[in-house]
Symmetry: C2
Subunit: 321 residues, 2 copies
């Protein structure tokens, strides 16, 4: 049974599980009408997922819905913003009710956790391409950006790195390991945990922040470029999960950590006197290096000797992913 577009939208997306008090008008008109709280800046971010490029074709549609929101929550986290509203563009080859039911369950499950209300969007027939825009609030002076890192600042990352790259290798059959480790790594690829509370806690502490979607080297590179500084990163300090270290060599694990992307952890810089505040964050954050005045990213081994990277990160057009 084929449902019409409008019926599909009503059935799966008109009922946002979250209702925010600042929403004047949600799904169902030409525009949504939203009241941003006084004194708050609106933070907006938009990410697009293309099937077979940003998620493997065999990905559970529930995880696709989850990830479409999670990658945007990760951008808000890097800004220190509190999530509020989402809009969703769904281009789908057919009106597949089972797919939509699973997708919306994954999306709304995570939305509920973070108080995100779906307030609008578009649904069209076409190749499977999903674009989600997320809106959040942040006091303008407290927003974290890529600009602001200063020489002497310590560089930290949340969680562990390289799991996303390993998960993609598991999905493509390129990594053989224990079933439990494979499932955990695949879960890190498909259902990354956006560091929203960590990002909000870093207001007033971090001097710069970015989320690691394209690999540490590329994303930290954005901080360095915007801040006009350089960095020294200790390769052996990169936090790696026990699952990743069982599944792959440490050299391979570090390579993924630096360049594979899809980790959705935060990389941020703090003045040395804020180290105690970082230690008190709810998520384990690891110091991996230091900001230096000389521009460029220097990766060093345990002996302090420079290490050369074979690739600087993921690039959607010229990269291989």
């Amino acid at each position: 049974m084929a449902l019409g577009e409008f019926q599909l939208i009503e059935r799966f997306f008109a009922q946002s599980h979250v209702r925010r008090p600042e929403t004047i008008l949600g799904v169902g008109d030409d525009c949504a009408l939203l009241a941003v709280p006084a004194g708050m800046a609106l933070a907006v971010t938009m990410d697009t997922l293309v099937e077979a490029r940003h998620f493997p074709v065999d990905t559970d549609p529930c995880d696709v819905g989850y990830k479409a929101l999670a990658v945007n929550l990760s951008d808000l986290a890097a800004t220190g913003a509190q999530p509020a509203w989402a809009t969703l563009s769904l281009s789908l080859p057919e009106a597949d009710e089972a797919w939509l039911a699973a997708f919306s369950a994954g999306l709304f499950g995570l939305a509920q956790e973070h108080g995100v209300e779906l307030v609008g969007g578009d649904t069209v027939r076409g190749p499977r391409v999903i674009t989600l825009q997320l809106h959040g609030f942040v006091p303008p002076g407290a927003a974290l950006t890529r600009k602001g890192a200063r020489p002497g600042d310590l560089i930290y990352v949340s969680g562990t790195l390289g799991d996303g790259g390993a998960g993609l290798a598991v999905a493509s059959g390129g990594l053989a390991c224990a079933v439990a480790d494979a499932a955990w790594l695949r879960g890190r690829l498909d259902r990354p945990t956006p560091r929203v509370s960590t990002g909000m806690a870093l207001r007033g502490i971090a001097t710069a922040a970015v989320d690691i979607s394209d690999g540490l080297a590329a994303d930290l590179g954005h901080i360095l470029e915007r801040s006009g500084v350089g960095a020294r990163v200790e390769l052996e300090a990169l936090p790696l999960s026990a699952e990743l270290l069982r599944a792959a060599s440490s050299a391979q694990a570090r390579q993924w950590a630096l360049t594979a992307g899809d980790d959705y952890e935060l990389c941020f810089t703090v003045p040395p006197e804020q180290a105690a505040a970082v230690a008190a964050l709810p998520v384990l954050c690891t110091r991996i290096g230091v900001i230096e005045a000389a521009t460029g990213l220097r990766i060093v081994n345990g002996q302090g000797q420079p290490v050369t990277l074979s690739a600087t990160g993921h690039d959607h057009f010229s990269g291989q992913q």
Copy 2:
């Protein structure tokens, strides 16, 4: 020469021609940061264009860029909102510099006209799918919605209807007519004029409004459903362009006007005492019918006799377009 994603973004999209004073941080960070003026609601709308579905494959990329913004401006117009910021998701099969140059010229040309600043988005490799989200301002109490039409209200449309449908027939080779008329009709399909100033002028005048993207019958139907009313529309009152009437029979022209969509005119309702205010609008608006208490849409001919529609409008999933 293939350019990397980041270079492409910088080259074509980092330089928004418009800078708005309310923009705290634009393109180039994890989130854009925006300050909505005090006392204004934020109006947001998102539309997706899929190649071969929402625009013919031979469409000039300049017109694709124009239309991606125009269809969203049309939604803001239907809300009575003033345009402010756009975000753009571009999924493209290759890094085609000529295509991007033309697309961005079309987009930024219209953006400049309406004071729209591009503040963020995403660029990925994939099938050609374009999603644009537009943000605008409107005093919350003055926003136009689909709800609010009352029995006795007069129904108006701006401009002329059916040109978009005829333009699509021209594009597909299904309509043979004079070259100048064909070019004009194709122009109405590819470069519709969003009725932004008309929408803003209708604040405090219209009781309900919608933009005609899916055909008058379907879009007026949204007003009727949301307002819990019905309508009588006089078929022969529908405003048709001279070009359309030269290119097609009046029966075909009216059919396109009612059901083809892609016109991006406004349909709105006003109390009879506001008829003089409508006559003073900068764009010619035509009275086509009246809101009635009995639900349903009744289309009548010059003798007041009911006319039956063969299709009620465009539906992206179950329709043919």
